[in-house]
């Protein structure tokens, strides 16, 4: 898994590629936590993300809860079919703002 962060004022685009699983979820968690804290508008661009395990789902859920608490926005974009299947079956399509 790799992340790339682009900042534009209070807007941050976090691009995540590869696979999020139990071996690297700690890195993903610290990157997204930092992006949530530093932004008012966060775009998590999943173009190039092929896979997410339940460890990664937990991080998305925690991030979404924190964003809401902060009164900010988080949008998830460019979700591939395999990852979308996981978001759908777990009910995450209802919890996350997916474009």
């Amino acid at each position: 898994m790799e992340t790339r962060r682009t900042e534009d004022g209070t807007k941050i685009i976090l691009n995540v590629t590869g696979e999020i699983d139990g071996t690297n979820v700690g890195d993903f968690e610290s990157e997204i936590k930092r992006a949530v804290e530093d932004s008012e508008q966060l775009i998590v661009d999943l173009d190039g993300l092929e896979y997410v395990s339940s460890a990664g789902l937990r991080v998305f859920l925690m991030a979404q809860k924190q964003v809401k608490q902060n009164g900010h926005d988080m949008v998830i974009t460019n979700v591939c079919d395999d990852v979308m299947d996981i978001f759908k079956v777990t009910g995450f399509v209802k919890l996350l703002n997916i474009e």
Partner: protein, 138 residues
């Protein structure tokens, strides 16, 4: 059948992934099926690592078997540990309809295993927890 035994520790998940991915790749499984299997392997292996021998640690064996020749083709992955008897399938499914504020963090792993695999069953036999999962593919 291919088999690996490692200490049931989170740090060994990468080694288990390497084993499972190479066994499935050699058998000609496609990337999607391999990812689906990885997803389930992670859940069960981390479950064993966290609970089976807690607070100690002990061995976990993973086997991968292809039922080639039969139609439909089938991959069978088995997890064996000698820890405390525990049926992970007895866990309640998460409420996937709940709203953000009520949504619990966690509990998704076993649910994903159930929905991804075609069959999942557990038995405690000869002092061992044995969890078997099967997935058919074309």
């Amino acid at each position: 059948m291919k088999e690996i035994t490692v200490e049931a520790k989170r740090e060994n998940l990468g080694e288990i992934f390497d084993f499972v991915v190479s066994a499935l790749t050699e058998s000609g499984c496609d990337k999607k099926l391999i990812r689906q299997c990885k997803l389930c392997v992670e859940e069960i292996f981390l479950n064993i690592s966290s609970y089976a021998y807690h607070p100690e640690t002990g061995p976990a064996t993973v086997t991968v078997e292809m039922a080639n020749g039969d139609k439909p083709l089938r991959v069978k992955i088995c997890f064996i540990d000698k820890g405390k008897p525990f049926d992970p399938l007895s866990e309640k499914n998460p409420d996937i309809e709940s709203e953000l504020d009520e949504r619990q963090i966690g509990g998704l792993g076993i649910f994903l295993v159930r929905t991804t695999m075609d069959d999942v069953f557990y038995e405690y036999t000869d002092g061992k927890n044995v969890l078997t999962m099967q997935k058919r593919f074309v």
